[in-house]
């Protein structure tokens, strides 16, 4: 079948394992050449910030998982504009090498265009 999939990434990194396990599921899909897109929304946008030093709390970097995605053909991330604004994060601060960041205004329309949505 196929089923174009959207991974809805709405949790902050490190505080819970969901952000990490969500990215692992996305990596698995991408490795199997399934079509999967990512939408960072709500606290999920915190995954994209730079200067993360998770070694200070004895955790592995989750940004490293993000940086691995372009190697699997994931070269575009959707990011919710109002989630950024609400949290005082300027869109230009978001930079992932090899990835085009597309800020979107209407997440509902984007979500409805997929056959499957995985929430993390």
């Amino acid at each position: 079948m196929g089923n174009k999939t959207l991974a809805l990434c709405r949790t902050a990194p490190y505080g819970s394992a969901l952000a990490r396990e969500g990215l692992e599921a996305v990596l698995a899909s991408a490795a199997m050449e399934q079509e999967v897109d990512l939408l960072f929304i709500g606290d999920g946008i915190f995954q994209l910030l730079g200067n993360q030093s998770p070694e200070e709390i004895q955790q592995k970097s989750q940004r490293r998982n993000l940086l691995a995605l372009p190697m699997f053909g994931l070269e575009q991330f959707y990011v919710c504009a109002s989630s950024l604004a609400e949290r005082g994060v300027k869109p230009k601060l978001i930079e992932i090498p090899g990835v085009e960041i597309k800020t979107i205004e209407q997440p509902g329309a984007l979500i409805a265009s997929y056959q499957c949505v995985l929430s993390f």
Binding site: L6, L8, I41, P107, A109, A112
Partner: protein, 97 residues
């Protein structure tokens, strides 16, 4: 169109608010588990013309069945109704945090 499942209380979680920010015209909302407390929350009023459902067993468990009956525009459904909603909509998005 999308079916949104909200399972957390709008008084302690942003699940409902986040869902509503991602709600498109024609989408449907089903309140389950602690999501049924949305019956007591203002946020639902922004959805007056949309399809809003509430899982009756979860409302009853929490002593909210009578309230659900009088909140206008909310349709109470059972498990079979939930299954039917899932066949009528796609994708199905869960807001559980």
């Amino acid at each position: 169109m999308t079916l949104h499942l909200v399972s957390k209380s709008p008084f302690s979680s942003s699940a409902l608010r986040d869902c509503l920010q991602s709600f498109a015209e024609g989408d449907a909302l089903l309140l389950i588990e602690d999501g049924v407390y949305a019956l007591r929350h203002d946020a639902l009023q922004t959805l007056q013309n949309s399809a809003v459902y509430c899982l009756e067993a979860d409302a009853a468990a929490r002593g909210q069945r009578e309230l659900a009956a009088i909140v206008s525009g909310i349709k109470m459904i059972d498990d079979a109704g939930w299954v039917k909603l899932c066949t009528q909509h796609n994708p199905i998005v869960s807001w559980f945090r």
